[in-house]
Every structure is written in C-alpha cells, then in structure tokens.
Symmetry: C2
Subunit: 360 residues, 2 copies
C-alpha cells in the first residue's frame, strides 16, 4: 500500500516526537510492504515565523490532498512567546482550528486508559482505580462555540462580547453515529454528556442521540450532565466506556480524563472526517520548556500513528503490531523521564523510538 | 439583631438538612441574642406539585423582601421523576435559575477544601494531596450561556439549536472585584479561568480581569485555560487559592473541585447580590435516593448558614462559632454515613445537628 502523508511537526517538542513516529511508520512499511511518503507542511508558530500566519493556503491544500495528516504539537508559552502578542486569528492555535474546520475533521477520538505498568503515576487512589479504566472520548470538533459567530461591540460605551453555540441535528447525528459505532467494538456503552437542564443545543443533542440509539439495540446508553461527568471522572472512572459530547465540553472533559490516567505522554488522538481521512496527533501539548533536549516521550505520537494505520488505511494488523511493540518496551522496563519510576531504565526520546522499532 | 430569612426546603433531602441548619441558627440566636424568623417558600419539585410551576411570583417576592435566603436542594431523579416530563422552563431547576437572575445573585462562592479528618475519603493519592488544599471558586452566576438568548428552529427541515454566550465588561468587572476582594482575605492569589484562545467573551474577560487586578497590587494573579484547569485540579489542587470564572466553566470546575475533596456532603456555597443580600445552599444535590431516612449529612447546609451569618449579617464571630462546632464534632469522631470510616461513630442527620448545637 502507498500512503501519502502530510506531516506537521509543529512547535516545541513537536519535531522530535514526530521524527520517532515517522521512524516507526517506516519500520512498519518495511516489514509489511507499504510505502509512506511524507510531505512536510508548516503550521502554528513555525508557520508564523516563516509566513507571518499560522497556516497558509498552500499548506492547507497539501493537507487536503494527502491521505492523512500526522501532527506533533503546536503553540508556545502564552506569556513569553511573541506569537501570543499577535491578534487571536494569527496565533498558533488559529491554524489548527482552521485546519479542523476546512478538512471537516468533526470526530475527535481520544482514548484515556490506565496503563497497568504506569499505575503509580495515576493521581487517583487504588480504591478509585479499582480494576483500572479504559474509555474513549468522542468529541464533536467542528461545531459549537468554537465555530459560531462571535463579536465584541461597544454598547453605550460598554464593551460586550458574544459567542454563539449552534448545533444542527445533522452535526449531532454524524458524531453520535461514530460514538455508537465505536462502542459496538468496545464495551457497548455510551454516555452522552450535555447540559440539557440549561441549553437548547443540549436538548436537541439529547433528542438526536436518542434517535441514533434506536439503531444500536446492542449498545446501552445514558445521558449525563457535564458537571456530574466532571465529578464522575474523578470518582469512578471505571464506569465509562465511550463518552460522547460536544466541542467545548469535550475539550474540558478529555483533558480531565487524560490527566487522571497519570500518563498524558502516552495518549493518542485521531480527528476524523467523513470517509477515511483523518489527522493524528498526541493528546498532550508542545511542552516548549523541554523542547530539543531529547527527553520528550514520543509514545503518544507513535500510538497516534497506529490509530492512523487503523482508521485511515484499515491496516489493523500493522496498528496492533505498533501497539504491542509499545507495550513490550514498557514491559521491558524502559521509560522516558515523564513516566519514570524506581527500578526502571530511563531513556531519551530517540532511544525510546528505536526500542519500539526493534520490537516491530 | 433581627434576621428575616426566606427558607426553601426544596426536594429530596432538602427538608431534613434545612431543619438542622435552622436548629443551629436558633442556637446561635439564643447564645448571641439574635432572632431569626423564617418564612418558608416553595421552589423546585415541591412547588411544581402544588402550583404547577417551579417558582411562583409570590414566592419570588417573599425571597426578594427577605434579608437572606436559606436553601436546601431541589430536583429529583431525572429519569424517573414526572417533573422531568415537563417542558424545560417548568422543571425544578428553572425555578432556581429564575431566582438567581431575578435577585441578581451574580457571585457564587464555593469553597473546596480538604478536611484533614476526612483525608481518607479524598480520591487523590497522598503525594498529590501533599499538605492539603483550600480553594474558593468564584463563579459568575447570572450571565453567559445560562441566560443568553436561545432558540431551536427548523432550517430546510433540519432542526438547529442555538445558545448565546454574552458578557459585558460590567458583568465581568463586578465578579472580578469580588474575587480579588476575597483573595485579599486569603492567600492573595487569583487564577482567572477562560478559553481566550477561542472565545471573544474570554478575551474580554481577560482584559477586564487585568484592569481590575491593577487595583490589587497585593494580590497576584494568572490566567489559565479551562481545559488546563480541569487537569490541574486533579494534578495539583494545592496551587489554587481563588479561582475566578464565568458561569458554565464555573459549574463544571466547581463540581470537579468539590469531588476531589472527597466530602461533598461538607461543602457550602453562597450566591451573593450587590450589597448584603445572598442565597445560601449546600454544594451538593437533593439525593432523592436517601431522602427521608435521616441519614443525610446536614453539615454543608449548616456551613452555608454560617456563610450567611458572615456575608449577609456581618456576624463573623457567630459564623466562626458554627464552623468551630462542626470541626469539634468531627474531631470527636462523629460521622454521617457518607463520610463514615473505621473507628468512627456513625450518626444520623438529626443527631449530627444536635451534636453541633451542643458545641455552640
Ligand atoms: C489549542 C486549542 C484550540 C485546542 C482546543 O481547544 O480544541 C486544544 O486544547 C485541543 O483540545 O486540541
Ligand atoms: C441545577 C443547575 C441548573 C445548576 C447549575 O447548572 O447552575 C447546578 O448544577 C448548580 O451548579 O447550582
């Protein structure tokens, strides 16, 4: 198989972690007879530095014409980096938002699970962890407050700012279908999160989810209010299989969920369009403070590449091989500094990548 | 002093926990020479059952003419209670939202701290708890998505729902002032939470907070993105003193913060208007499953009554006496079932109230 990837190395630790993911893809290609070609594009701060804006039309077109996008991470330190002196629409994050919307990447999938080997790093007590947890957050990514009309005006000399949260039933239906589809391949339980006691958009969300659920008699589901969900993630993470929610709630809850695993350096994500196209990036940020020191953890990016193999190229066996390689390296006791614990062997970013390749 | 209170017992465990708080206020009155008069009004499910709506104009007027409102909790089981078959604006919660808006209760204060005695119930590991944590969430309560224009329409046969998030600089300024004022009496640190990399309302929020901060040179402050805050609460709760945020983010983060204390049965809240008027209620819900069994924990409501003494009546000494009485009863080893642990003495709702009174 020939896979044409657009690659966004991005800012901070982005370049070094993407390097390792590319090495892993090449190893997979060699073993299973696929070719991965990479066309690099700039986005975020790296693009601002060269082009004065976070995403050029040319870069966007290259991404659009690729089979899938592999990304590191973008952005810098918001209080010290000059990128954050720019108007909002020229900052690094604006590039990512434009890319998501332009490429129709409406379904953001973020797994959050406890690695048995990294249990010590989990901030929750053992009684709460119980038998562990393993959930997927299915976040709507191209609607809601992120992409609604917004403006700031002066009314009688007083500044007033407005953002708009809009969802159509079609936007809700397509993400709900994705959530139920993925639940079917997992523990068959969907928790749809909203604020239906306050928001019209949440009430529509509920009613569409209920319609979609009718087509999935083998999948159970329930509704949960967002405030309650923020509590339940801390209180009893084991109850969740698939969490389905809108854009802003998903932003907050997926970050909370990633933190309770205690190992955000391990968590991948996929942002999918209709069909097979998708963008794959780690759940964590660009960590500018440790950039360029060869100490970043490349595993989240490598596992994102595995998700790419599975979702964009239907290479399930290859994806599983990458995931198993990661597990084996952890079992052998190798750790990057962020997940280091007593008695383990500490390695850098590049060495971690090489160890994983050896296992493939 | 003569204090005229409107009392909303509400639904579920509301009546029993409010009874105990009233007993405590009477004991304070006796000892310190104050009179508390109580006018009961219906709100939530209790009002729906009698009047067909969650808050009548008459009840609202009584609340408006009182010196302060003491409240239990409202609402029932959303999947089984007939109240949730009603249209949204007739459900129990709608009464509370109307009350907040009509009485101008814009500043919601929710303390979240670890009780040394209840450390075992905290879901976080000891390494994360460290020396404990003690924060206050200052949530804007009458603006944002909760009270913006909303509607659901059909566009070409497709349902589309819209909610609006609006803030004026005046709404932001008055809540920011409250946050910095309270920080001054505490550890002098404000973390203002927003999503300024996406929302116009958050960018206005930031700029107004920065203006207000100039008047508080003795208080340090920083901005934090809401997704990061949801992580930091789990990762390092000790870093927070005062969290300042808008309505919806505050709903989510205050519930998350209350859960990480491990003892939501202990957490009070105050919702203040300009001046001295306020509504005081526990942070927890109406727990219909344990209602009427005399096992609910009345402490959150009793501590809310203490907040009332402090904020609405300037009775600092009396408030401190109530808080100390609660601490002493815990130190003596008495626990309601929700906070029970080995070696402690389990008591019911009424007995817990009586024990606290004895200490006053
Ligand atoms: C960078 C930012 C705009 C983005 C978001 O809020 O979606 C990030 O937090 C994420 O979750 O991918
Ligand atoms: C009952 C509900 C409308 C309310 C809110 O969302 O404000 C509650 O969750 C709270 O936090 O007081």
């Amino acid at each position: 198989m020939k896979c044409n990837l657009a690659v966004i190395k991005g800012d901070g630790i982005g370049p070094e972690i993407v390097e390792e993911a590319m090495k892993v893809l090449d190893a997979v290609g060699e073993k299973y007879g696929h070719t991965f070609s990479y066309e690099q594009i700039l986005m975020g701060g790296a693009s601002i530095d060269v082009h004065g804006k976070p995403l050029t039309d040319e870069a966007l077109e290259i991404a659009r014409n690729s089979d899938a996008v592999l990304m590191g991470s973008i952005g810098g330190d918001t209080s010290t980096s000059p990128w954050y002196q720019l108007p909002a629409q020229l900052r690094p994050e604006a590039g990512l938002l434009t890319l998501r919307k332009s490429l129709g990447l409406f379904a953001n999938i973020r797994p959050a699970y406890l690695y048995e080997e990294l249990k010590e790093a989990c901030p929750l007590k053992d009684e709460i962890i119980g038998d562990g947890f393993d959930m997927v957050i299915m976040r709507e990514l191209t609607g809601g407050l992120y992409f609604g009309e917004r403006h700031t005006e002066e009314v009688d000399g007083v500044r007033v700012a407005t953002d708009t949260l809009t969802y159509s039933e079609e936007e809700i239906r397509r993400i709900a279908v994705k959530a139920f589809d993925i639940a079917r391949k997992r523990k068959k339980h969907v928790i749809s999160v909203d604020k239906a006691n306050v928001l019209d958009s949440s009430r529509l969300w509920r009613s569409v989810v209920e319609e979609v659920a009718k087509d999935y008699e083998d999948v159970t589901y329930e509704h949960m209010l967002v405030d309650n969900c923020a509590m339940q993630l801390v209180n009893d993470p084991g109850q969740f299989d698939v969490i389905l929610t809108e854009n802003m709630f998903g932003d907050i809850l997926s970050d909370e969920a990633s933190m309770i695993t205690g190992s955000i350096g391990m968590l991948s994500s996929a942002s999918l369009a209709e069909g097979k196209f998708g963008l794959y990036e780690p759940s964590h940020g660009s960590a500018p403070d440790i950039a360029g020191q060869d100490i970043a953890n490349p595993i989240a990016t490598i596992l994102s590449a595995a998700m790419m193999l599975r979702y964009s190229f239907d290479l399930d066996e290859e994806a599983a091989a990458v995931e198993k390689a990661v597990k084996d390296v952890l079992a052998d006791g190798y750790r990057t500094v962020d997940i280091m614990s007593e008695g383990m062997k500490q390695v850098g970013c590049r060495e971690m990548g090489s160890l994983i390749i050896e296992k493939i």
